[in-house]
């Protein structure tokens, strides 16, 4: 029974991995990776790693895949890009040679542990309780370091992906800002009388004066 499940899950994982590489549309690649991750979670379950399997499905197939799907939807990227020249032949060849070599190394190793079904199963092996105990006792420092790493990565991603003035064409921003609106209805600066519209009398929409972005208010002294 476990052999049947192993082969189903292994074939699923390898098929998903091939799908990631072969499919042209990045969106389908992401879906193939999700399939691969679920199959891999089944393999983890067969290896009695329940908590890792659950974390795999929730964190990877859930959160990370959603991130991918959003970025693929944002970027588009349906272009068909295939590597040019020598890498197109050498890349798969390198992968094939590496796979053959690793398989020979693993199957040919005369190690008893590799050719066994593993250590006898102890109840509670791989359960959330025992993993959590390890994390909070023996591996406390890596645990905390991982949390700091996640924080830094989140801040870094925001810094990288934010909108920067001057580095990129800014027409979207300007379109949003320059929509005509009646004067004295918008910004906090206007409410405070800090910025006075310079050309307020020139810009009107159907007779209503329109605020100029960054402009000043003529009839008030600055300050509160």
């Amino acid at each position: 029974m476990s052999a049947v499940l192993f082969f189903i899950a292994a074939i699923g994982a390898i098929t998903g991995a091939f799908g990631v590489v072969i499919l042209r549309n990045p969106f389908y690649s992401v879906l193939a990776l999700a399939f691969h991750l679920v199959s891999l979670a089944a393999l983890f379950l067969l290896l009695r790693a329940e908590f890792v399997a659950a974390a795999q499905v929730i964190v990877y197939a859930g959160a990370v895949m959603v991130l991918y799907v959003f970025v693929v939807a944002y970027v588009g990227g349906g272009e068909q890009l295939e590597s040019r020249g020598a890498l197109r032949v050498l890349g798969p060849l390198f992968a094939l040679v590496l796979a053959i070599e690793l398989c020979i190394a693993m199957l040919g190793a005369g190690l008893k542990g590799v050719n066994s079904k593993g250590a006898p199963y102890a109840p509670g092996f791989g359960s959330p309780g025992s993993i959590g105990q390890l994390f909070l006792t023996k591996f406390l420092f890596p645990f905390e370091a991982a949390s700091i790493l996640l924080l830094v990565a989140a801040v870094g991603a925001v810094v990288l992906a934010r909108r920067r003035r001057g580095l990129e064409p800014d027409e979207e921003f300007e379109r949003e800002v320059s929509v005509p609106r009646p004067a004295w209805t918008g910004t906090m600066a206007e409410a405070g009388g800090l910025r006075l519209p310079v050309h307020a009398e020139e810009r009107t929409v159907e007779g209503v004066p329109v605020a100029t972005p960054g402009g000043d208010r003529p009839d008030q002294e600055g300050g509160w």
Partner: protein, 99 residues
């Protein structure tokens, strides 16, 4: 099943990922292939944990998942930044660090 079979599956997945990194040019797909390689390493770690009856390999696999999540976050942030600056999303074109 013998532990060796899990290791073989792990090796095959790793090689598919490595070949994908070499063959594909879209950085999004290259990130996906990196995920494949990290997952193959995870499978090997969990298989070794099972072999020894020791949960430390599973802890290692969880930490690898955390690192992979951080890597994906930063990588996707870079892809979005590249897209914002109207640069081609193609690793063969993006071969210089400045501008």
């Amino acid at each position: 099943m013998n532990i060796g079979w899990y290791l073989v599956v792990s090796a095959i997945i790793f090689c598919i990922g490595a070949g994908g990194v070499l063959v594909r040019r879209n950085p999004l797909v290259i990130l996906l292939c990196l995920e494949l390689m990290l997952n193959a390493a995870n499978l090997a770690l969990v298989a070794f944990a099972r072999m020894w009856g020791n949960e430390e390999g599973q802890v290692f696999a969880l930490i690898v998942m955390v690192v992979a999540a951080a890597e994906v976050t930063v990588g996707l942030g870079l892809v979005v930044a590249i897209y914002r600056r109207r640069l081609p999303i193609d690793v063969d074109e993006l071969n210089e660090l400045q501008g």
